[in-house]
Symmetry: C2
Subunit: 408 residues, 2 copies
């Protein structure tokens, strides 16, 4: 059969660039500049993107036609010259973010630019969650929160889950805390919630890392490591501004680096995982408290330490030392700008940081020192923010394409 179109294979490798790629890339530049820096004048956009006024005019008008942004009347800023109109996000374009935790499910709606429009959280008591129940709960939660937000056009959906997530498949491969195994969460949700754009699923710690990197404590860092823990310890790595995924998207399981080969048994089947030394169970046990009391007990432990109780202080020093040992390893491996501590390491930051720093002084290679160790500034909302950022990613990379695919 002769090829009717004569040439243009188009099937195997879409790596090449054409004129349209230039337009897409520049639209992405403009919309990303707005998303990450907030509303800007057209003049500012020229400076941020390096495009000429003529070109920015075209990009903005195209984004306006797509309904993504609009221009506000120019405001005089006191300097001479014709004032430039302010380009702002449309009010009815947003992303849906969903968080599946052990003890709660949450959903939120974020506008372009990162502003939260609505948030709802549903507490759960049981730890084992039936998949069908979870899907149904997420569905009603999503519908409610979308109504709260004024039913905006949803550009994409991001889901954060406690467990290993195969990102390319949007599948939860293993989530022991939920009792889930190979759950195709993306597909299941696509049937439950409609008109919510492309659905992407990610690990909660990786999403928190993404959030802190974009809008949190790692905003100015190119290379960042996020570490969070309560019962389990998870993390995420941002390398050169982009999340580290690994082969299947499982990268960042830093709770299971071996720090003490002859130490305690870990739930994962290994021995001496970092998690067994810096997790909340080890901390509470060292402090003479009930290891099963969970996250709330940590707050009482901070109080005890504040009051100067010796066992509490010792427990924190020991835990801080182990924290420092692992952090040293991470710094030597990744050479990051910043390490962001979330979860109980954020609330207990003041009680732990000295022991951590002491350990770093001997264990980090001298030229690699200088990495900042800071607490998370987004706290518990990091997961939802990161899920939203993941959902925005496609729209930012190809604004017109995703908009036209939304309005089928």
């Amino acid at each position: 059969m002769p090829n009717p179109t004569n040439q243009a294979p188009a099937d195997p490798a879409p790596r090449s660039m054409r004129s349209a790629s230039v337009r897409t890339a520049n639209l992405s530049q403009v919309l990303s500049a707005l998303h990450f820096h907030g509303p800007l004048t057209r003049s500012d956009l020229c400076a941020y993107t390096g495009l000429t006024r003529s070109s920015v005019a075209v990009q903005v008008s195209e984004l306006t036609d797509a309904g993504l942004v609009f221009e506000q009347a120019p405001q005089s800023d006191g300097r001479p010259g014709r004032p430039s109109p302010l380009v702002t996000f449309s009010t009815d374009i947003a992303a849906l973010a969903i968080e599946v935790e052990v003890d709660s499910i949450a959903a939120a709606v974020f506008r372009l630019g990162g502003e939260s429009l609505a948030e709802r959280r549903l507490a759960r008591t049981r730890s084992q969650v039936r998949v069908e129940d979870a899907i149904a709960d997420i569905g009603t939660l999503a519908r409610d929160v979308l109504a709260d937000a004024g039913s905006p056009t949803i550009i994409g959906t991001g889901v954060g889950v406690v467990g290993l997530v195969e990102e390319a498949e949007n599948t939860v491969t293993m989530a022991p805390n939920l009792g889930w195994d190979n759950v195709p969460l993306g597909q299941l949700l696509a049937n439950e919630i409609k008109d919510c754009g492309e659905i992407r699923v990610g690990n909660e710690a990786n999403l928190s890392a993404r959030a802190e990197s974009t809008r949190g404590a790692g905003r100015d860092a190119n290379d960042m490591i996020y570490l969070s823990g309560e019962v389990g310890v998870g993390g995420g790595v941002i390398s050169n501004g982009r999340p580290l995924t690994g082969r299947s998207g499982f990268a960042g399981e830093i709770g299971h680096l071996t720090v003490n080969p002859d130490g305690r048994n870990c739930g994962c089947g290994s021995i001496g995982c970092w998690e067994t030394e810096i997790g909340i169970r080890a901390l509470l046990e060292r402090a003479g408290l009930n290891p099963d009391d969970g996250a709330d007990a940590a707050d009482t432990l901070w109080d005890h330490a504040d009051r100067g109780e010796e066992q509490a202080r010792d427990a924190l020093a020991t835990t801080g030392r182990w924290l420092g040992i692992g952090v040293s390893t991470l710094i030597n491996i990744f050479n990051p700008d910043v390490i962001v501590l979330g979860g109980m390491y954020r609330t207990g930051y003041a009680h732990l940081i000295d022991a951590v720093r002491a350990e770093l002084e001997t264990r980090v290679l001298p030229p690699l020192r200088g990495a900042a160790i800071v607490p998370s500034i987004l706290g518990d909302s990091a997961i939802l923010i990161g899920a939203a950022e993941m959902a925005f990613e496609h729209a930012l990379a190809d604004p017109i394409g995703t908009m036209s695919s939304i309005r089928t």
Copy 2:
């Protein structure tokens, strides 16, 4: 002062794309396809790049004009249809690769496509190397090897060094084995060797990782970890096809992850670094040999083990166990496709791998298993190959730009 050119800031952000960017990107596609897949017909290039015949014709003619490639007469391949001319690398375009080891200095010339044209190695006896001497030695070695190769046009130079290298500055920040401290090797070499294009300096293990990823055991892997060791233990990480650098290019110091917090003192000042358990000193000591004997002693140890000597076997089992502990950590963190073992872990691969695998079975999170552990296939030439690949990187990204900057 009014702006004479009216607009076009051009100074701060060169992120935007124009028509010329498209051409550059597509030229890069074509040349890279040739570099990594070997000579291809124009028709093949259409398939690899997704460009049309018209476009490929333009790209090839431009690369030909720049002197990078030429077309060979078409050869009939037995199938019907007009035969397509074969696009091949010019014979006189090459990269210079230099390797600065503790006990030797080497230089080599590689043609586009990766073929080695010439190689020379200069042994050294003393371990402390004066910088001036090293520069002079490298200079003569480079001149000699370039003459051997027929004085090709050098498109770029890559230097691999045993030590921490600040890649952006082309500076050796710390190289204890050479006794170097903050040596601006790139600048110094630029004065010594002329007409060798842009000079880039990198860490030897990172370059080996790059080499194995491009042309070695990690060729088909997107995510790869390279591990090499003799006295010191180094490594490099390829994430999503690209080398992990970290903030200053120091990333990948996996010899200094803490595996045994109360273990032996490490030369870096820390305690229980992986290097202290899997380095050659620990191995020889366990086998009852002289820890200071160096790399040659390892070969005799393999012999002892082959002959069934118990202490040798025990030493290898113990070392293999520690090797497995660290590799498990790396897999849990990075979720790689492949782990490539170089240095003495390549020569001793058969004696170590069983103990490593045994450890992985309990320590790696189940969904992360399946990472292949394989020996390096480039062996000792990995560093030079990686250095050449680093040198090629610029030319592949912007062929015409670098060629015109070469012919000043």
